[in-house]
Every structure is written in structure tokens, then in C-alpha cells.
């Protein structure tokens, strides 16, 4: 037997070496008997809220198909993207989607790819739900407050809509929440801080904008680690974060694509484009700007969590135990809303879990202050407490009512029926063997590949038609070499500068149409004299 001397306390040394008085105790395990049933119930609730009418709402978003197509490319071994990978985002997000590709296939092989993708996203929604609860508990909130945070997070129609969609932000948030949970480790084990660094890198490699929340993870480590091991804990975090992240630029460098240069894509080139080259969303205070419209759309879907959450995040900066989510939410909000920045519509999904945590945390802080306070003589406390409970119930009812319309739409309306039927119509009526080239948007692209069109050159993503030289090389006759175009709302909003696509649409006739108005989807056959002459 060999052992190590463990007796405390330490020798009194010179002042240069402060000696901790006694062995530091591990932070208490604060399990509550309500935790397990609450977690199970909330997870089931999330599955239900998300699962109902999953493919019907919201409308298939512009990027969802792109990520799925890229996941398809990874899964099939084509590469990191279905077209040339140009470092638009780090690929870890859709690599995970590719790894989860088996999941929807189990039950839904006949469904459109996007619905299948949304099923895979439920994994991240469920994981985030559990993580938000555990994170709230690690922030020393009682079970009821943790459950409130989850409810605000899961039931908000804005969050529900964004969470259902195949967005990299959702994947990154799951990793970020995991990193925070590890950073707030109760055992304060060095390994947990190293793992937190790995998770934070996983988050950034899933969606690069999450990097803004990484200081909050470092703050969590600073707050929770013990003074004696703090330097090593932070070193472990930083080392794991930086080294894991370094794989990405290394990959680019090995491909000769790190620095911008003539005739090839590059990581830094793409980065400059994302940071500086993107069209600015304008000032959020300017009613004509894109940023204003984006924020207005968020407020339309859920004014409660967005407005109250933002206010709560600012207030929570003053509460020590809530400072971590408050810093995450504040930093991400301020940088996104800076005038001249680029504000994508799904960005808010990164901030919402922290808004929810701050709101629930402040509610808890209020009850603590309320209980502790000497604000009223004892005989008045009981009626005031009853009044507060009534007020809270009324608030909850009000919030629930404000969410009702939005959630009902997500659960009932089928906003994607046009897409689904158009996809089915093409599969049933168009023969890839005879007419091998069809131009579609990215939402339909994976389904066209499944229907038998050659990926990339047969099933053509409209965006690449004029912009990717590799695609144009296959079309010496320009628009005349195309056979079908499926015109969707997404395609109608296309930017200028796609002449081949415009020509093809001009020289085409509608063979099938689905839906009406702005949602109308048309399957158009391209008419060329040349092809009529030589069948």
C-alpha cells in the first residue's frame, strides 16, 4: 500500500505563497428529486411540440436545402459540398447531419429530404432542451426556474420555428450549451474544462458566429474553478479550443486554400467576404433596413421572449450567478445589431436559450429577494404572496395566449404542400434518362438527386448556374442545354446576375403548377428550337 499525505491544513508560509486553509470541498451535488421527472416530462413535451406537423411549418428556408445537400455530399463521399466547397461555413455542422442521415431513413424514406432533415434536427432540439435544464440547475436555479427556462425556450413560436429548420445555428447552440455545462462542472475536474474547450470548438466549427459566446464559457470557468487550479483549468480550455479549431485552417492550408489567390477558393477569402464583403443589413433603428425587417419579424413571432429576454439579459449582468448567460446573450446581441453588420434571420436562435435562462433566473432572483425582504410587516406577507402568485399566473396565461396563434399555425398549417407535391410530380412525370437537366432550388435539390438526376450537372442548383464555372462547362449551349426549371418562391427572389436562368425561364412553358400567389410553384419545360429539330 502506498498513499499520499492528505491531512490539512497547510503550513503558514511567507506572504508570497498564500496557503489555502483547508482541503477545498467539491461543489455540492444539488440533485433534487423533481429533476428526473421534470426532465423526462420536458423532453417529452419538446418531442411533441416539435414533432407535430414537422414538415408542414415553417416554410422551407433558403439554406435548409443547401446544408442537406452538403450533408448528402459528405455522406456519399463526394466531398464537403455538392458543388465546390468554398469555406462559406466550417463543415462540422453538416458532417453531423450526414452522420445522423440514417435516422430519418428508418421511418420516412418516402418523405421529401427536407422533412427527413428536420427529423434529424430534433436530435439537437432534444439535446438542447436537456442541456438548458441542466445548465439552469448548474447556475444554481431551483427546478421550477430551470423548467421555466426550458418552457420559454421550447414553447416560444419563434424558437420553435427556427428550431425545426435545418440550420447550423441550432447544431452550434447544442455544442455551446454542452461547453457551458462542462465549464460549470461541480467536480471542477481538469478534464471537464478540456472537454469544454473541445465542445466550444465543435460549436464554432458547426457555425462560426457562435465564437462570440466563447468569452462567456471562459467566464464560467473563471467563476467556478478553484483558485489553486484556475490557471491550469483555463489553459486546458484554451488549448483544447485552439488546437481542435486549428484542424480547419490546417485542412485549408493542406489544400492550398488558406490564402486568397487567383483561380481558387480560400478560407481567408471566404472569411473576408463574410466579415466585410457581405451586403450590410443596415441600422436596426432605420425602418427601411433589412435589419429592421428581420428584428420586426422576430418580434411579430414572439415579442415576449425577444423583448423581455433582452431586457432580462441586461439586468442579469448585475447578478453574479446569471452573469454567464447574460454575457453570452449581451455580447451576441450587441455585435449582431451593430449598425452596418449582417444580420441573418436565424441568428436569434443562438441568443434565445440565454434570454430564456436570464428570464427564468431573474424570476428566481425576484422570489429570493421577495422572501428575504423586510418590506412589509409579517401579517401582510401572506396576502402579498398570494397576489404575487396570481400575478405570475396571469403573466403566464398572457404569454401563453400571445404564443397561441403562432404555435397553432406551426402545428396545423401545411406551408410546404406545394414543394412536396411539385417534387412528387417531377418524380412521376419527368424521366432523367431522356431529359437529364433540371434546374431547381436547394430545397428540392436532394430530392432530384434521389429521383435519378446526376448530382451537380443533372440536378442543378439554380444559384450555381451562372456563378460556378464548373457547372457552365457542362452547358456549352447555355440555357438551351437545360430541360426543366422548377420555379419556386425562393427562385423568384433570386439576385440579379443569373442571365442563363432568366433566359431559360423566359423560353419555357408551364407544365404543372401548385399553389397560388407568392407561394406558387411552377414546373416549366424549357423550349428550344434546336431541341425540337433534333430529338
Amino acid at each position: 500500500m502506498t498513499t499520499v499525505v492528505t491531512e490539512a491544513p497547510a503550513v503558514a508560509g511567507p506572504p508570497a505563497r498564500p496557503a489555502p486553509p483547508a482541503a477545498p470541498a467539491p461543489l455540492g451535488r444539488r440533485r433534487h428529486r423533481a429533476d428526473r421527472p421534470l426532465l423526462l416530462g420536458l423532453t417529452a413535451l419538446t418531442a411533441l411540440v416539435h414533432g407535430v406537423n414537422l414538415g408542414g411549418g415553417p416554410v422551407f428556408g433558403a439554406d435548409e436545402g443547401t446544408y442537406l445537400a452538403q450533408a448528402w455530399a459528405v455522406r456519399e463521399g463526394v466531398g464537403l459540398a455538392h458543388y465546390t466547397y468554398w469555406y462559406d461555413h466550417p463543415p462540422f455542422g453538416w458532417m453531423q447531419l450526414a452522420a445522423l442521415g440514417w435516422l430519418p431513413d428508418l421511418a420516412l424514406s418516402a418523405r421529401p429530404s427536407l422533412v427527413a432533415g428536420r427529423v434529424a434536427m430534433m436530435v439537437f432540439a432534444l439535446a438542447s432542451t436537456v442541456l438548458v435544464y441542466l445548465l439552469a440547475r448548474r447556475l444554481r436555479l431551483p427546478p421550477w426556474a430551470a423548467a421555466t427556462a426550458v418552457a420559454l425556450f421550447v414553447l416560444s413560436p419563434l424558437e420553435l420555428a427556427l428550431h425545426r429548420q435545418v440550420y447550423l445555428d441550432n447544431i452550434a447552440v447544442t455544442w455551446l450549451l454542452g461547453a457551458l455545462l462542462l465549464a460549470l462542472s461541480r467536480r471542477r475536474h481538469l478534464w471537464h474544462y478540456i472537454a469544454a474547450g473541445g465542445c466550444a470548438a465543435g460549436a464554432v466549427l458547426s457555425k462560426e458566429t457562435v465564437v462570440l459566446a466563447v468569452p462567456a464559457v471562459a467566464l464560467a470557468i473563471w467563476q467556478r474553478s478553484h483558485r489553486s487550479t484556475r490557471a491550469f483549468c483555463l489553459t486546458g480550455f484554451v488549448a483544447a479550443f485552439v488546437l481542435t479549431l486549428s484542424v480547419y485552417p490546417l485542412y485549408a492550408a493542406l489544400n492550398g486554400e488558406l490564402m486568397p489567390g487567383g483561380g481558387h477558393v480560400s478560407l481567408l477569402g471566404a472569411w473576408f467576404h463574410q466579415v466585410a464583403g457581405r451586403h450590410s443589413s443596415g441600422n436596426v433603428l432605420d425602418a427601411g433596413s433589412d435589419a429592421y425587417r428581420t428584428v420586426d419579424a422576430w418580434l411579430y413571432q414572439d415579442p415576449v421572449v425577444v423583448l423581455a429576454g433582452a431586457a432580462a439579459a441586461l439586468l442579469a449582468l448585475g447578478v453574479r450567478r446569471l452573469r454567464v448567460p447574460a454575457v453570452a446573450a449581451t455580447v451576441m446581441s450587441l455585435i449582431a445589431l451593430r449598425p452596418g453588420g449582417y444580420l441573418p434571420a436565424m441568428y436569434v436562435t443562438q441568443v434565445l436559450p440565454f434570454f430564456a435562462l436570464c428570464l427564468a433566473g431573474l424570476a428566481h432572483t425576484a422570489t429570493v429577494l421577495f422572501r428575504r425582504g423586510t418590506w412589509a410587516p409579517p401579517r401582510l406577507r401572506r396576502p402579498v404572496r398570494a397576489a404575487a402568485l396570481v400575478l405570475a399566473a396571469a403573466l403566464a396565461a398572457g404569454v401563453g395566449a400571445s404564443w397561441y396563434d403562432g404555435n397553432r399555425r406551426l402545428w396545423r398549417e401545411d406551408a410546404n404542400a406545394g414543394y412536396v407535391t411539385a417534387g412528387r410530380w417531377v418524380r412521376e412525370h419527368v424521366r432523367p434518362a431522356q431529359t437529364p437537366r433540371i434546374v431547381v432550388d436547394d430545397a428540392l435539390w436532394p430530392d432530384m438527386v434521389r429521383a435519378g438526376f446526376a448530382p451537380g450537372t443533372g440536378a442543378i442548383w439554380f444559384y450555381k448556374l451562372d456563378l460556378d464555372p464548373a457547372v457552365m462547362a457542362h452547358l456549352p449551349g447555355g440555357w438551351r442545354d437545360l430541360h426543366y426549371v422548377v420555379v419556386t418562391p425562393m427562385m423568384r427572389q433570386r439576385p440579379d446576375g443569373l442571365p442563363t436562368l432568366t433566359e431559360a425561364i423566359t423560353h419555357s412553358e408551364v407544365v404543372a403548377a401548385f399553389g397560388a400567389g407568392a407561394e406558387r410553384i411552377e414546373v416549366r419545360r424549357v423550349l428550344t428550337e434546336l431541341r425540337e429539330a433534333t430529338p
Partner: protein, 422 residues
């Protein structure tokens, strides 16, 4: 296909080896509790045991007197100090005899062996020891005045057979390799040794090690043929189930100096590595009770080689992948083991900071730069020493190459440990 398979196997092995080494190096900082457990328990002030302190000295007339005078300042006074000198070393002998004449606590034992080494010297003195506990120091050691009091207390309160105290190289600014050499000691005594003690397999250090005299006589003292007699003793004592206590306190560590040239370091490393090989071959560790301990013993004794070669192979592999323009996948695989290797460097930087704080030394930016820039050359040196050790053992060359000491750690600006209070 073969290339890919090879690359995967190589990367995985190197990654695993580097990660295990790093993880064990960081043992002390795993949790605040593990860090706290590495401290010496505070003594109650009473003294129960008598000590025989052995101090072998060979061609060390320059540093011996100072070391002895410092040892004599110990606040625990129940000890005898035995200076062991060779019959063919008149200069050191003269200093030793002068000291013995001056101080009644000091005795001189003359080692008459034709071929000399440290274990033979220690064995020569062992029969003359009268103390309950035998302690070993080196001629250039700077020993804290309260060390014996703490060791006495540790023996009384833990019924240990062996107490291993900390040793630390201090002269980190002497040359390009000394900062890395100092850090090796820092991580070993501050952290790794505690893990070894906890798991029940410990290769003891060469000095500041204390053993109950009766047990030491029972096991026949030190192995005179072994180049790492300290490691061997630890293994033999572990194998018969002796309790080893490790305690570390920056104040109480014995201060030493790095070898005075890169060549001396190279030779010292060769000797240690060859010694570890010998202990591995002797196989006393097979007597360890649990399979886990035997596995740890095997890995620990082989680890100088694992460590030496993982570093060099990792660097070489990645450089080759870049230079020869291997496929991106293979190049990324060869990068994998570089992650824990560079991670180690991160921790070394913070370790150097901690080292400076604990020992009250000012670490400058230049020292950090030396630490970082020195990595590849130091790795090569270790790998070279490991290779040389294997070759020497294979050819049967087992003579003792001594490390020379000039007293570089005895700088006037170094804080003297005797001023500390306990």
C-alpha cells in the same frame, strides 16, 4: 490502402501515448482536492526518530562543504551525517575529513571499491548507520532546515516505510535546455510522482528519499549493478508492499542544479534510461499484487523510451506529410498526435509560470521563448539518449557516467530556503 492503414495505426498509437503522458503529468491539477493532497502535512513540532543521512561525494570538493554546513542547520538535530568518499579521490576526502573534525555529527566512510558507483558507496555506509531512518542526499543539494521535522512527522503519522520528498532543479536560466530540465523536475515531483504513489508503484528519486533502516537492511540495500539504483529500490520496496508516502512543498524541496552541459545531460539521461531498462529486465515488478500495478510498472519503466520517441516521431511524421505532399487525409491523420504534443507545450508554459510563482523566481519572456523554441532540439536529445541507452545495454556496457556539478543553483540571488518558517 496500406499507407492509410499504417498512418491510422501510427497516429492512433502516438496520439494515445502522448495523451497518457500528458494526462499523468497533469495529475496534481486534476481537481482542487488532488492538488491539496500533494502537500506535506504540517508537523506537530515533536521529534521521535533518529536519522542517518548518507551523502556520497565524488570529485565534489567544490560544493561539499557548503552542502554539509547547510544540512547541519537542520532544526531536527537527532541525526548523523555520513560523508562517503572514494579512496582515489584525495581532494574530496580532504574536505570531508576537515568537516568531520569540525562537527561531531559528521563522519567519513571511505569506499574502497575498485570500480565506483553510487549504489556501492551507499552500501558501504549502510552497515555503519545507527539511525532509525536512512536518508540520501547528493553533494550539491540545498536542503531545507525543516525537512527532517516534516519527514519525522510523516513517518509517525502514516506508518510509511519510505518517505519521498521533492527535488527541484532551480537554475532555469543557465542555458537553453535548463528551463526544460527544471520543468521536467517540477512536473515530476509536483504532480506525476503522487499519481505513482497513489497507484502503488513508485520509482524513487535519487535523493531526499528516506527509508526505515531495518527494512533497508532486510532488502539488502541498493543494487550495486544497477545504473538507476534509486528507481530499483523503489520498485523492490513497492513489490513487497511497503507503504511509500510522497509529500511536496515548494518550501521544503531539495534544490539542485541541471547538468552543466548538454553533453552531461545527454550522458545523465543515457544512464537513467539504461537504469530503467535494467530494472525492467530484472523483473522485480512482476511481484506487484495487482495486474493494474504491473501494467503501470511496465509502462512507467518503458516510458522514457515511449516519451523520447513519440515526440520525435510525431514531429517527423507531420513534417514528412507536408514535405512529401501526402494526401490531405493522411496529412490530417499525422496532425492528430501533434494535438496532445502542442497541448503539453501550453501546459508547460503555465507550469513555468507556476514554477516561478512557487519558488519566487522571475520568469522573463526570454525564458518562455527558450521553453517553446527548445522543444524540437530537446526532443532530439531525449530520443538520442534513449537510443544510446538501448545500444549500451545491448552491448553490455554498464559503467557509471557521473554528472558533474559546479554549483550553478547556489546563486547569491536565489532565495535561501533556511529563512522560511514552518
Amino acid at each position: 490502402m496500406v499507407l492509410t492503414g499504417l498512418a491510422v495505426a501510427m497516429s492512433a498509437t502516438l496520439f494515445l501515448a502522448a495523451t497518457i503522458t500528458l494526462w499523468w503529468t497533469l495529475h496534481a491539477w486534476r481537481t482542487p482536492q488532488t492538488l491539496h493532497a500533494t502537500r506535506f502535512a504540517p508537523p506537530d513540532g515533536s521529534h521521535a526518530y533518529t536519522f542517518s543521512l548518507l551523502l556520497p561525494a565524488r570529485h565534489e570538493e567544490a560544493v561539499l562543504a557548503r552542502t554539509v554546513r547547510q544540512l547541519l542547520q537542520s532544526r531536527h538535530q537527532a541525526f548523523e551525517l555520513i560523508l562517503i568518499v572514494g579512496h582515489d579521490d584525495p581532494a574530496t576526502s580532504a574536505v570531508a575529513h576537515e568537516l568531520a573534525a569540525e562537527y561531531p555529527q559528521v563522519r567519513v566512510v571511505v569506499d574502497q571499491h575498485a570500480v565506483k558507483n553510487k549504489p556501492k558507496a551507499l552500501n558501504t555506509a549502510l552497515p555503519t548507520c545507527t539511525g532509525d531512518i536512512v536518508g540520501v542526499f547528493d553533494a550539491e543539494d540545498q536542503v531545507h532546515a525543516d525537512l527532517l521535522t516534516h519527514v519525522d512527522y510523516a513517518f509517525r503519522t502514516t506508518d510509511a516505510t519510505v518517505v519521498q520528498g521533492g527535488v527541484q532543479l532551480i537554475n532555469f536560466h543557465s542555458n537553453w535546455y535548463s528551463v526544460r530540465n527544471c520543468l521536467e523536475y517540477f512536473f515530476w515531483f509536483r504532480s506525476r510522482l503522487h499519481l505513482q504513489a497513489q497507484r502503488g508503484f513508485i520509482p524513487l528519486g535519487g535523493n531526499t528519499v528516506f527509508v526505515r533502516a531495518d527494512t533497508l537492511r532486510q532488502v539488502g540495500g541498493w543494487d550495486p549493478q544497477c545504473l538507476a539504483e534509486d528507481c530499483d529500490l523503489g520498485v523492490r520496496l513497492s513489490s513487497i508492499g511497503c507503504k511509500v508516502v510522497v509529500a511536496y512543498d515548494a518550501l521544503l524541496v531539495t534544490r539542485e542544479e541541471t547538468p552543466d552541459s548538454a553533453m552531461a545531460l545527454f550522458k545523465q539521461r543515457t544512464r537513467w534510461n539504461q537504469g530503467f531498462l535494467q530494472v525492467l529486465r530484472k523483473g522485480d515488478w512482476r511481484q506487484l499484487p495487482s495486474r493494474r500495478q504491473r501494467l503501470l510498472a511496465r509502462y512507467t519503466l518503458a516510458s522514457p523510451f515511449v516519451q523520447a520517441f513519440t515526440g520525435v516521431t510525431t514531429l517527423a511524421g507531420f513534417t514528412m506529410a507536408i514535405l512529401f505532399d501526402l494526401p490531405v487525409g493522411i496529412a490530417l491523420l499525422s496532425y492528430l498526435p501533434l494535438l496532445p504534443t502542442v497541448g503539453t507545450l501550453f501546459f508547460e508554459i503555465i507550469g513555468l509560470h507556476d514554477f516561478g510563482r512557487q519558488y519566487g523566481l522571475r520568469i522573463r519572456a526570454l525564458d518562455y521563448a527558450k521553453l517553446v523554441v527548445g522543444v524540437p532540439v530537446y526532443m532530439l536529445l531525449l530520443a538520442g539518449a534513449a537510443t544510446r541507452a538501448v545500444l549500451r545495454e545491448w552491448r553490455g556496457r554498464r559503467d557509471w557516467e557521473l554528472t558533474r556539478h559546479v554549483g550553478a543553483h547556489l546563486l547569491p540571488d536565489a532565495p535561501t530556503p533556511a529563512t522560511a518558517d514552518a
